[in-house]
C-alpha cells in the first residue's frame, strides 16, 4: 500500500483525491488545504490539515496548487529527501526545491469540480530524477489510470501548449458559437451533435484529413458572407485569422 499526501484543493487536487480514494492499493494519508472547506466533500475531515508543519510521513507528496505557487509551496515544506511531485503541465520539474527528490505527475485533462471524469482514461505524464522514484509514480499512476506516459519537462511544455489549443481555445470557440446562437434566438443545443462528431472524427482520421467547411474549400463567397454577418469585431478577427490559417495550410499540401 503506497501512502500519498495531497497538497492543494483546486480542481485537479479534487479529482485526484477522488480517483486515489477509489484504489485499494493506495492510501490518502492526508490533504493539505489552506481552507478546509474546499475539500471536505471528498475526504474525511480528520485527514485535512491547514498547518504545513503537521504533514505526515508518506511515500509520495503531490503538490497540486496553481502554477505560480508550486515553487513557494515546495520550498515551505518541512520535509527532507521525500518524493515530491507537482501536477503541472507547464512547469519544469526543477522548480521544486532541491531538499527533496523531485517528480512530475501530470494528468492531462480539463477538470471542473462540477463535472465527473473517468480517471482511468486520463493520460498521466510522469517524470522523476531516478528510476526508483519513477517506479513509485508509475505504480500510483497505473492504479488510477490505464494510460501512463514518460514525458520529460521539455516535451511536457509542448504538450501543454498543444492542450491549450485543442481544449481551452476549442472551448472558447464553443462559447463564441453559443453567443452567436443566443443573439439569433437559436437553441445552442442544435450544435451539440456536430461538436461531438467533430471531436470523435479525429479518433479515426488525422485532423488534416477531417477538415471540412468553406475555408478549406476556398469558398470565398461564403467566407465573405460570414465575415459580413459578424458584427462583433473580435469574432470577425478570429474568423479571418483562422480562415486564413486553414487556407495557408491547404496551399502547403
Amino acid at each position: 500500500m503506497l501512502s500519498i499526501v495531497i497538497i492543494g484543493s483546486g480542481n485537479v487536487a479534487h479529482h485526484l483525491i477522488k480517483a486515489i480514494s477509489k484504489s485499494n492499493k493506495l492510501e490518502i494519508k492526508q490533504v493539505y488545504a489552506r481552507n478546509k472547506v474546499n475539500v471536505i466533500d471528498v475526504i474525511d475531515e480528520n485527514k485535512i490539515t491547514n498547518d504545513v508543519s503537521q504533514l505526515k510521513e508518506a511515500d509520495l507528496y503531490l503538490i497540486s496548487v496553481s502554477d505560480a505557487a508550486v515553487a513557494e509551496v515546495s520550498n515551505k515544506l518541512m520535509l527532507e529527501n521525500k518524493l515530491i511531485a507537482h501536477t503541472s503541465g507547464s512547469l519544469d520539474m526543477n522548480v521544486l526545491d532541491s531538499k527533496n527528490r523531485k517528480g512530475v505527475f501530470y494528468p492531462l485533462q480539463t477538470f471542473s469540480k462540477k463535472k465527473d471524469v473517468n480517471f482511468h482514461e486520463i493520460p498521466i505524464c510522469l517524470e522523476a530524477q531516478n528510476e526508483k522514484d519513477y517506479e513509485v509514480l508509475e505504480t500510483v499512476a497505473k492504479n488510477i489510470s490505464n494510460v501512463v506516459y514518460s514525458i520529460n519537462s521539455q516535451q511536457r511544455k509542448a504538450l501543454h501548449v498543444s492542450a491549450v489549443f485543442v481544449s481551452n481555445f476549442v472551448n472558447h470557440l464553443y462559447k463564441i458559437g453559443n453567443d452567436i446562437c443566443d443573439e439569433n434566438k437559436i437553441p445552442f443545443q442544435i450544435l451539440l451533435p456536430l461538436i461531438q462528431e467533430t471531436a470523435q472524427k479525429i479518433n479515426y482520421l488525422p485532423p488534416v484529413a477531417a477538415q471540412t467547411g468553406p475555408a478549406v474549400r476556398n469558398d470565398i463567397e461564403i467566407t465573405q458572407l460570414h465575415e459580413a454577418f459578424l458584427s462583433d469585431e473580435s469574432q470577425k478577427k478570429i474568423y479571418q485569422l483562422l480562415t486564413q490559417s486553414i487556407q495557408n495550410n491547404v496551399k502547403k499540401l
Copy 2:
C-alpha cells in the same frame, strides 16, 4: 411511400443516400451525378443518371451540390411546380429557381465520405414556402433523424457561422495541436481523451462555465511562456488572439 431524387454526389449527398435508403418509408427514385462513379458505392447503377433531361417524377428533389452551383443547377432542372430543396447551411431558400416550389433540407453535421455517421442524431433544419411542402420535408426528415427543427433562412445563416466556429475552426485547432506534437515527437494520441472530454463537457455545462486554462486564470507567466515557445508566426498570432478574447470575456462577466 415518399419518393426522392438526389441531385449531387458529394459528401452530404453520399450520407443522405445511405440514410434514406435505410428507411422503409422512403424511396430513392434516382440519383443525378455528373460522374456516376462517385455514387456507385451507395446506390444501384440503374438508378444513377448524368442526364438532367432524364429526371424522374418524385415527391421531393434534394439538391446537394456545392453552394456555388445550387442556383445554376436549380435553374437547369426541366421540372415545373415540383418541391425542390437544397441542403446548404449558408444559402437563402430563394436562390432556388422560382419555376418550382422551394425548400431547405439542411442536415447540420460534418460529413467525410470515409467516416460513417449515425444519421438519427443529426439535427435537420427545414424551411419551406408553404405548410404542405413543409410537411413533406418533415416526413422525410423524421424518417431519417430524431432531431428536426424549423429554421428560417436568416437563422440558418447564423447557425452556419456558429457551425464554422464550433466545427471547422475547432478541427483546425486540433490540427495545430497535432503539428506541435509532431514537431516535439509526442504522440498526438495523448491528447485524444482531453479532446473528447472538452467536447462532452458542454453537454453538461455551458461553454463559459467550462472554460479552463491559463488565459481564463489570467496566468500571464504561463501565457508568455507559451508565446515564447511558439516559433511558428501563424500559431503565435492565433494563440495571442484567442488568449486575448478569453480574457476580454472574463472582464465582461
